[in-house]
């Protein structure tokens, strides 16, 4: 067994089969349940009416995207220190999930903006910095497809994964640092008490979905690397590849 296959196999040996697929499915089922619960208990907002209910998906996806990008940052730093490929794979897995969640956040924000602001999109600081965040992490994923050599791809990606995180606190604070039409950060201290429970439950449910997605993507990636390594080893044994 070559070292590349060894680490990949060890990383996925702790659990086998479709366990994480079922975990992810369960997390999605819980998310659907808490969404229905939150929708059923939340009264219409005085200003926005039933549009307030978009908050239960818009805010949790934004929070989870931030956490996913935080994971990219931590795993990228760990990769640079340790050179262990599992951190590289965790970073790309978290980046992919973060990009999906950020794209959803932007679309949901646009759907919410039209009836409240009268436009689908405006170059508001919060919206603009979030769009930049999506482009940066989209670039991170694109970079990986451009670099063929494993170690170089991981090293460059780690550098980008660390630098890209600078934009996350900028997005978060943009509603306070600049004049914006976006409301301040939604949290239990800034929303009406009748919405807090629904917001917290939905945040936890989307967080569980995010974790399951990252683990599932990570395990798929590590298994693919192990299978590739095994294939390379088999080719070497057959003498099909010269070294």
């Amino acid at each position: 067994m070559n070292p590349k296959e060894g680490e990949a196999t060890m990383a996925v040996r702790s659990s086998s089969g479709l366990r994480w697929v079922w975990f992810a499915a369960a997390a999605l089922a819980v998310t659907a349940t808490v969404q229905l619960y939150a929708l059923s208990i939340s009264p219409p907002d005085q200003g926005m009416g039933h549009l307030q209910k978009i908050m239960y998906v818009h805010v949790p996806t934004a929070w989870s995207a931030f956490l996913a990008f935080g994971t990219v940052f931590v795993c990228s730093a760990l990769y640079l220190f340790t050179k262990r490929e599992k951190y590289d794979m965790l970073a790309v897995s978290a980046a992919e999930v973060g990009v999906i969640l950020t794209a959803v956040t932007l679309v949901l924000g646009s759907i919410w903006a039209k009836p409240t602001w009268g436009v689908w999109w405006t170059w508001d600081p919060r919206l603009t910095t979030t769009a930049i965040l999506l482009v940066i992490y989209g670039g991170y994923l694109a970079l990986r497809s451009f670099v063929e050599e494993d170690e170089r791809r991981a090293r460059w990606s780690a550098a980008v994964g660390i630098l890209a995180f600078i934009n996350v606190p900028i997005v978060y604070m943009s509603v306070r640092w600049w004049r914006t039409i976006h409301q301040v950060q939604s949290s239990p201290s800034t929303v009406d008490s009748s919405y807090i429970l629904g917001l917290r439950l939905n945040a936890l449910a989307v967080l569980a979905v995010m974790i399951c997605f990252i683990v599932l993507r990570y395990r798929a990636g590590m298994l693919e690397r192990a299978a590739e390594a095994r294939l390379e080893e088999a080719a070497l044994v057959k003498g099909e590849v010269s070294v």
């Binding site: 196999t9 089969g17 479709l18 994480w20 697929v21 992810a24 499915a25 999605l28 998310t31 969404q35 926005m48 009416g49 039933h50 549009l51 209910k53 978009i54 998906v57 818009h58 996806t61 999930v97 999906i100 794209a103 959803v104 679309v107 949901l108 759907i111 919410w112 039209k114 009836p115 979905v209 997605f213 599932l216 993507r217 395990r219 798929a220 990636g221 298994l223 693919e224 690397r225 192990a226 299978a227 590739e228 095994r230 294939l231 088999a234």
Partner: protein, 44 residues
């Protein structure tokens, strides 16, 4: 346009994205595991 149309659109977009990504990653995982067990290659 009713407020509810926007709410339904928002939840619809969310679920299309979540279920779409779930299908993508679960399919990739199942294929990778099968390839690994069979000793064959997978995609990067």
């Amino acid at each position: 346009v009713s407020e509810w149309n926007y709410v339904v659109a928002a939840y619809g977009v969310t679920w299309i994205a979540l279920l779409g990504y779930m299908a993508y990653v679960a399919k990739r995982y199942v294929r990778a595991e099968a390839a690994h067990r069979a000793g064959q290659g997978g995609e990067r």
